[in-house]
Symmetry: C2
Subunit: 332 residues, 2 copies
DNA sequence: TTGTACGCGTTATCAC
DNA sequence: GTGATAACGCGTACAA
C-alpha cells in the first residue's frame, strides 16, 4: 500500500522513549497528568526524531479538523482578496486553516463544491457565493456543518448570517440625485454576478419606478478591457449619464472611456462604484462608491464561525450597512 | 468521545445494502470488479442515506489527501490574488483543494506555518513566501513533501522551482534610461518585502555603480496612503526623479502625489511599477511596469505540482522572464 | 465477484 | 502517573 514508509508515528516515539503511546499523546496535548521527567524525556525524543502529529489521524479520532472551508466564486477580485485577508488574520489567532472551494461563478461547480465541503470534513464553512441557493446551504446544514453565510439569509441550527445593506444606500443616493442632478441613470448589468447585484439592480429599478423616472440598463462583460472598449463605442453617441458599476475596475472602465472620449467627469459623466475598495481612492478621478470594509467582513465572518464552533452565545445575524462615500466621479 | 454521532459511514451503507463494506468501497472508487446489479444497489442506498466518504479516513488509509498547501505572505495583494486564481483553476481540473498558510511577512509565523504544513498532511506545498529560507524549505523537503518553490532556488528531490527574471529587465530599463534620460533614479525600499525585492534593489544599485551614476533610496511604508503623504512632503523640495516602486498601488501613490504637487508626469516625475498587474493600465496615467502574468505563474506552479505528484517527467526549473511594458508614466 | 481482516496514526476510556 | 485497548472511517491484500 505504502511503498515509502517514512512518517514518524507516535508509536515510534513511544518505543524510543520507553513509554506507551498513551503517554506520548498526553505530552503532545499538554495533558498535565504526566511526570515532569517523563515529559521532558518524551519531548526530547520527539525533537530528536522530528515527530509531527498527523492532523489526519487526529481529526479522525477527535472528529475535528482545524479546517474551515471557504466557498467563493473567485479568488481574483480585490474585494474577495480583502475578505480572505480578514479571514486569515482572524483564523490564525484561533488556530484554524482555510481551505478554498472556488465555484467560478458556475452552478455546476458550486454543487460539486458542496459535495467536496462535506467530504473534506471541515469544521465549518463560510459561504460567500451567489451561486449557492438556500437549498444547497440547507443541504450543507443538514450535514451538521456549522455555516456562516454571507449575503444570503438562511435560518437554521448552527448557521449564522452576514448581510450587506446596499439597498438603503443605493436608494438614498438615487433619490437625492433626483433632487439635484439631471442625468439619466444607467445600471451596468452583469451576467452571473449573483443575487447581491440583482438585489441592488432591483432597488435601482424600483427607485426609478417609484419616482416615475426613466432609466437605462447596459449589459456588460465582467472585464475592464471589454467594458472600456464598449463604452468608447457608447460615448460616441451618448454624451452624458450617471453610471452605476459593480466594482472599481468596471467603474474605472467607464470613467476612462468617458475621459478618453473627451467627456468631462463629473459634469458630463458620473460614475458610482457599488463595491468600493481602496482603488476607489487611488484611481483618478477618485471614484465615488458605496463602502463596506470587506476585510472587516471577513474577520467578522471568521469570528462568528469560531463562536459557532465554540458554542459561544452570539448574535446569529449581523448586518454591514454600506455608506456612500462621495468622491470626484459624482457631483453630489 | 463523540456525543453527536451522525455522519453516515461506509459501514451503514454496507449493512443497508446487504453487502460488505469492501464492496461499498469498490463502488465508491469505481473499482470495476463489481457486478452491475450490486453496484446499482449500493449506489442507490448511498444516495438514499446521503453518504459522503470521509476524506480524513480515506487520507489516513491511502496516505493521500487531495490537498495542497499554499504558503503566501498575505492574501491581500492583487498579484497574489491573481496567482491564487491561476492555482485554483488548475487545481480544480485535477481535483485538488488548496489550503492556505499565511505568514503575514513574519518569520515567526512562517516557521509556525512550516510546522502546520507538515502536520496538516497536504500532498504537496507551493511556497511563495520570502520569509522562508532554503533552510526551512529543506526541512519541508526532508519530510518528503513535494514542493514547488516560487522565487527561491532550491535543488532537492521532489522539489521544483519557478523563478522570476526581473534583474535582466531592470538592468536593461535602467541602462537604456541612462542613454536617453537625465533624471536621478530612486528605489523605493520596503522593509520585510523579501528576497525578490532585495535582489531587484541590488540589481538597481549595481547597475548604477557599474555606470558610475548616483542614485537614491527611499524607505517607505507598505501602504498607499502613507506613501502618498510621504511623497506629498518629498515633492515640496524635490521636483523631479525617476521612481521604482514595488507594485502598482505604491507606484500610484508616487504618481498621484506628483500630480497633486503640480508636477508633470513623465516630464518631471517618472514612475515604474516593478510587479505590474492589470491596474497598471487602469490607473491614469498608465503606469509603466515590468510584467509577469501571475495567473499564469500560479497555473504553472500548480501544474508542476501535479506533475511532481504524478511522478511525471518534467523540467524542475521554470523561469518567467519579465517584460518591460512602457506606458505613460515613463518617457522611454 | 464478494467478504474478512488488518492497517493507517491518533484520542480517549478504562484499568492498574 | 501510566499502560492496554477500543474506537474513528476507509482502503486493500488475501481468502473464499
Amino acid at each position: 500500500m505504502k511503498n515509502i514508509k517514512d512518517r514518524v508515528t507516535i508509536y515510534e516515539v513511544a518505543k524510543a522513549s520507553g513509554v506507551s503511546l498513551a503517554t506520548v499523546s498526553r505530552v503532545i496535548n499538554n495533558n498535565d497528568n504526566v511526570t515532569e521527567t517523563t515529559r521532558i524525556k518524551v519531548q526530547e525524543t520527539i525533537r530528536r526524531l522530528g515527530y509531527k502529529p498527523s492532523a489526519l489521524a487526529r481529526g479522525l479520532a477527535t472528529n475535528r479538523t482545524t479546517n474551515i472551508g471557504i466557498v467563493i466564486p473567485n479568488a481574483n477580485y480585490v474585494y474577495i482578496a480583502n475578505m480572505l485577508n480578514g479571514m486569515t488574520d482572524e483564523a490564525k489567532d484561533k488556530g484554524y486553516q482555510l481551505t478554498l472551494f472556488v465555484t467560478n461563478h458556475s452552478k455546476d461547480d458550486a454543487l460539486q463544491m458542496v459535495e467536496k465541503v462535506i467530504t473534506s470534513h471541515v469544521d465549518g464553512a463560510i459561504i460567500f457565493d451567489d451561486e449557492l441557493d438556500v437549498e444547497e446551504v440547507n443541504k450543507l446544514s443538514s450535514y451538521k456543518i456549522p455555516l456562516v453565510v454571507i449575503n444570503n439569509n438562511v435560518i437554521a441550527e448552527r448557521v449564522a448570517c452576514i448581510n450587506f445593506g446596499y439597498e438603503h444606500a443605493i436608494r438614498s443616493v438615487i433619490n437625492s440625485y433626483f433632487e439635484k442632478g439631471d442625468k439619466k441613470m444607467y445600471f451596468l448589468h452583469l451576467h452571473h454576478s449573483g443575487r447581491l447585484l440583482q438585489r441592488i439592480e432591483k432597488a435601482f429599478v424600483d427607485t426609478h419606478v417609484e419616482a416615475m423616472r426613466g432609466y437605462g440598463i447596459y449589459s456588460i462583460e465582467d472585464s475592464y478591457r471589454q467594458t472600456y472598449s464598449d463604452f468608447m463605442e457608447i460615448f460616441k453617441s451618448t454624451h452624458s449619464g450617471y453610471f452605476l458599476a459593480h466594482r472599481d475596475s468596471l467603474a474605472a472602465a467607464v470613467l476612462n472611456a468617458a475621459i478618453d472620449s473627451g467627456l468631462r467627469v463629473p459634469q458630463d459623466v458620473e460614475v458610482l462604484s457599488i463595491i468600493g475598495t481602496k482603488y476607489a481612492s487611488i484611481l483618478r478621478p477618485h471614484i465615488s462608491s458605496l463602502h463596506i470594509d470587506l476585510k472587516e467582513v471577513g474577520a467578522k465572518a471568521m469570528q462568528m464561525m469560531t463562536d459557532l464552533l465554540g458554542e459561544i452565545e452570539m448574535q446569529h445575524v449581523h448586518k454591514f450597512e454600506s455608506t456612500f462615500v462621495k468622491r470626484d466621479s459624482t457631483q453630489y
